[in-house]
Symmetry: D4
Subunit: 256 residues, 8 copies
């Protein structure tokens, strides 16, 4: 409930067009709508500029589809992550414009009249196996209205691959750097650019990788300032964060 | 060495005003200057908009002072973190403008003609004991040219303290949220604003806090998008990241 | 063996109606009955007010069914947790009143003449995926004689959903708060109510959740007093604890 | 701000005796009072029945004393935990009734006209070295109005010591069980009583105790239902939880 | 190669009936026989009183069978642990006397003329789910010549079940105590007997059990002396250790 | 309370020379004597053949001395581990026969008429720095009546040192093997002897030793059967276990 | 790009046969060739003496095959690790000389005219189950031009097996020692030879092995100098390292 | 005891100039000399080319000095690591040629007639704080006869510093790379050279560095082949390993 609505409500209390009791009722029952199993946050679209994203892992097909349909109805767009093809088919049946990104397992329904993408988010991956997570970041930043470039397989062991792309790196407004194994790429990249770097550790690797713990710790202890980290394999979180920063720089983000 | 200088150098190779061998020499020996124990990165001021920050932990007074003096000479400003009062005294003797922030143990020498601070970085702390880390973030963002506000002791157990400051939260362009114990504050804040949140876990707490592991994991697994995390107790890193994002939004950051 | 029975036995030793040797025999062989693979604790019903609950994970269908049948015979009621549908079918064949809760995988046989539920236990879940654990808590508290309300999907990222239900929270005598991810909900809730909060971390999440370690540590280090924690995913333990507290408040629990 | 005050405020908005703008002001600036470094939660006394407890670790003498004085002024009573004797002396100078518990390092100022302690909280410790944590629990429950009994050094290796006190155990309405080393005592106790058990792991021990990790995990995985756990060495948290449960049973706790 | 054989060999060197070079050859090539993939330790039967046990996990059926056949040929007896039924069938085809213990997945071929079992090894399990590990211990101690008794499902939550069997406990010469969950049983048992206790943590449990870490740490930090611990789920190791101690007490173990 | 005493007591109940109520009293108040801060276990001397050992860490000088004096009075002997010289001086003042072992920090008061040491316990240490822990084991086994030999600094990197002592190893009835760093010595030793090996990991080492975690895990996963492990640095526990096994072999241990 | 090529390029800039702009282009676009999903490092063959090895885990059959074909075309040889038989079949169809090592799951295409293997790399495994990792090391060192010997199943519990092969150990120029369980073998071997030892922990084992953590820590804390460690199960890395050292000793490695 | 001596001994057994019994005696008592607290390994000088290095941590001044004097007497040279200045002074009193390296805390006594250093070992450190560990590696490799170069403060955040020294890197025969924080430098270096890289994680850093765990895991999971790792802060181990490899390449190492 934004400030304007609240003032409006209070003014109506003042003027007597709304009783104290009923105002409280509205305050309490609006804007969270009860689906039985999941209270949807319709208000988020206004407060944060984007409808709730559906994290499909651990949800049944029917749960995911119900939330998706309701979200589409209200916002005309959709992002569902970690979705099985089965969930995609169920949603596709209702929303023919739905697209499936098999690598990142994301379902996207773009708005009918999307705005022109702005700024520049660059998504890098250290290895081939990190691409699914990188793609999740790219898809997310894209649907949130950012222009997105990708640069894959530029890990630190072949340094010249990365260095040969220096201009691309330096043009980006925000960078998402995805890496498994020793997770060194974000430190390296942050030393080459002055833009903020969102680091994503992946669970790719074996042995002492410990399901992503190794790159996670490495990224957190990065010797280069200008690096912040999201959860292991959390491509969505990185793409979201990058888009938010990118939009702020465009003068589009923020509450004000 | 930026693109312009490199082109210049190559052109001089082409025109014969610089021999191939000497060009390589300059390429190799410039711009890293050897202090014996620490190669200073003079170039960083140009590449990243701010001279190298001196992390004093594990450095002797004489090492810290030597680096500080050299940095001041070149850049006219200084930020040294985790500095003892002894190091401060040694630097103060050479740089009378130096200020010491006892809580955050930071030494600051502001430029003689500082630019007007821009944007709005809001630094929050969950508890009283988290303030030193929060102060480190605030001091850092401040010297990097950001306007900084602070809001301390607004942890989740007394929710109304936080909610009563909602407007302040929503005015910020970037937020730094510092919390020990269960580290829940960043999730909560990120649910209230649309600006990016830089979360800093602290080692404040005991038992299952495990030197900051508990809030670190909590922040990484935050259910709210728009949160990225820096290392435990890394106020500097958070302040730096916040300032970089804030400056980008001002149209001042980036390489382009 | 309760105090009364013991005094009775000793008195019979005194009066000579029971020999020393046989008394010891009864002491030793009663009340634990040997099923070969599992010694049932019939005495628990008297001592603790409820027959042993059957934890089905790691038990064969035949083991689970044998224990269940014996328990039903003696107590006329049953709670079996983490039960497969196969185990349910086997039990259902013998006990037509048995009900299966597919989400929580609990089997329940209510007593024929249940007492009126008392007090108020409120079970909250932070996300949709935490519901199975929350349901296990609710089912458990219910069969133990507590009146149970549930409130699901009220995580901290959408604060107003929770705040809009404040009266419900404040009416509860005990609260069970189930949360995965960063596990912040119990801290928040405990700051809003004065009733005791039983926190249940879940293994829902990925990456730095580390199978529930993140919310577990968060809940243990909660900055709000009035929170105690049970094992990861242990909905049963939380429901049991909540019911015990609720019954004490009703003047029904305790040994006295 | 409780429901009554809120209704009162809204009614005044309705009747015009309070402007919309000023009501919001009061809503926002009351009841959190700014001490510069710590926002005190005066409201908590009403909402939760007890003023904020002062956790002294990591606070300067002057910070602790300022908060203590303010708290005393408002509530006429005080509990400060993990307090040095230095802090005690500073508080004693202002509050002659202040008492220091050297084992638990707690400072207590009881209310001038305390109510009669009610119910029965039993605090057990497994070893001699666990006593400071146990004392913190006992002191806390005591000042919160509970009748408290203690039973120390009854660890599982000398079972008969515990069993010889069975009646005492079974009379308690709530039990706090403090144990380091292997942390087995809560399981054992919970198998002997039907009252709820609050388990407190301590960092007492060496080697594989890993600063309390061993008993913490043991207590969380307890095979006996009716056990919930608080943070390592958190005697205060356990005493608080026990008192809350005890008061509820007395019909004194809760919001209603 | 035992001392006697070595003296014999050296004497033959002395007397010239064996050349220096050939003696070294025998020293080097005897007694380890090369099967290509596994060097069998035939000598162990003499040195340690029992042929090498075959740990089947990670071995192919054909690898396991080859080793088993060779071992049987030489020693007339066999113990293979963690064996699939497939491996059993392959061995049974060659050794009709082979028996399969499905719970512990052990294959046993007893010697044709076994010695009378001696002493008393008592194997306890805390829960029903710990039985497979306990059975592995029992089977192992049995084939090594110990008299074995078992007592299952006597966990600490139902203390009287254990106490009612006190005489049985006190008759044992060595005890193997198997427990998952919080792993408290060994501490308790060691407080009741003066015989040595071999504790076996199991990976039974969930959440904070962390695959057996919880009971492992608990057993290592046991407050009762007279407890030593083997690896998680290592029933074989516990049974072997118990048998070795039991045999020593019989005057049968040891090198002397 | 042993079986004989219990029968006696019950018989007196039968014959009327003891009332039911008083018998229960004696049952409850005897044999645990209340020192206020520590319930001494006088009964242990009978039940387990040795008075309670005093673990001094975390006890005040006055607590340790009180327990020691009481123990000496009753049993005429004493073992106190992890004792400071200050505690020793306090005890020495009362018990002139007290000896201090500075390396292991153990205080020993031998019985006036000690029995002849029996059997053979061999204590090995891998490195020089492991000696304090090894000494604690040796002192413990010695006062418990075992003949003890020691062999120090025979780590696996200089294999011939160990092999040159093979006869000594093979003469021992029980071996205690103390090792820090990689903790490989117990596996090696267990492969050379048929006697049981009690392994003690030490916290000696740095880096990946992680306060003894490395050798602890190594010893638990030993590929050699006949190894059981006690807590990190727990020389006392190992010496106690070794002595118990040694005495059983002598026909002196056990309850029967 | 090696020094010679760079000088050549710069000289052409100087002489005008190459424009500044195009030189930069070549610098940037050469030698990394874009396959869309993976940038191949053709240059590595020159810089490091061997084409990029293909780590197949997490790659699709088509991804692996495309990279393999390209690599074969350029270098006439191939090493692919952790390859399924399905990937092998796809590569075999294109490269009939391809061989599959089922134990180590490596695909090898040797060069048509291989050089004579040099030096001596000895690969040891502690147990039968460690052989797959050992084989990966052996295959790798072999294709890199080293003469390789293997010695399997020589774990520390049967010491004489190892000692009987002392001459073989002492002939090796580099040793790869593969061990699971307690990981003691490398320490032991390093004490017997003066050549460098590359230690490989394996995830073989159960319980406290914790997926290879136990032997990893053991190897890192080895008391014997001359040991360095690679990742858990990383046979390839060990074989590569051994081959590099072996070749240096042959005067073939290095950049000079 | 080398092969030659053994043959000699055996021949004397054959010829009768040595009795079987006395030969065994010599075999057993030679060459390990008993200092009471530490068995010195005089033989190591022959077997491994260098006398035992003295690790001073955890040794008393008198223990360290005794071992040092004995070692000097036999070998005319000395390396003692982690030595306090107090130990240095004690050794200096006996050995005037002793030198102290305060940064690495190493004591060195070079041989009177040292051989010319050979090959090239390059020691790199990522930060200024890593220098003590790097110095320990350099001092060690130096006294073992290697030519050593150092290159400090070339961490990944300032990539050009490292790249400007490429020729130096490529001239080295072995590289030791020391890094704390995220530990990325070894991966980077290994991608630039073909010589073997010995990686040393340091405990420099804070928070998620977890005493060196972060760089340790990063180095183990390095994406670049040709990297092997030693223990955290183990400069000595890295210098030793590097020297051994360097000497092999010189044709000086090995047993043959």
């Amino acid at each position: 409930m934004d400030r304007r609505e609240l003032l409006n409500l209070l003014t109506r209390v003042r003027t007597g067009s709304l009783s104290v009791v009923r105002a409280l009722e509205r305050l309490r029952h609006f804007p969270s709508e009860d689906l039985g199993f999941a209270r949807m946050d319709n208000h988020r679209a206004i407060r944060q500029g984007f409808p709730e994203v559906i994290f499909c892992e651990g949800k049944t097909v029917s749960q995911a589809t119900t939330i998706a349909r309701r979200s589409l109805l209200r916002h005309g767009m959709l992002l569902a992550t970690r979705a099985s093809r089965e969930i995609f088919n169920a949603i596709k049946a209702k929303a023919p414009r739905a697209e499936y990104h098999p690598l990142s397992r994301a379902i996207v329904v773009k708005p009918l009249h999307p705005t022109t993408p702005v700024g520049q988010v660059l998504v890098l991956s250290a290895g081939t196996s990190d691409i699914p997570v990188a793609e999740e970041a790219a898809v997310t930043a894209d649907i949130l209205g950012s222009r997105v470039e990708t640069l894959y397989d530029v890990g630190v062991a072949g340094l010249h691959r990365l260095l040969s792309q220096l201009p691309l790196l330096q043009e980006a407004r925000v960078l998402v750097v995805v890496a498994g194994m020793e997770g060194a790429l974000p430190s390296l990249v942050a030393g080459l650019v002055s833009a903020p770097v969102i680091a994503v550790p992946t669970s790719i690797g074996y042995g002492a990788n410990f399901q992503g713990l190794a790159p996670l710790l490495a990224m957190l202890t990065s010797c280069a300032p200008g690096v912040a980290v999201v959860n292991i394999d959390n491509g969505f979180g990185a793409g979201y964060m990058a888009a938010v920063i990118n939009l702020i720089a465009q003068g589009q983000g923020g509450d004000s």
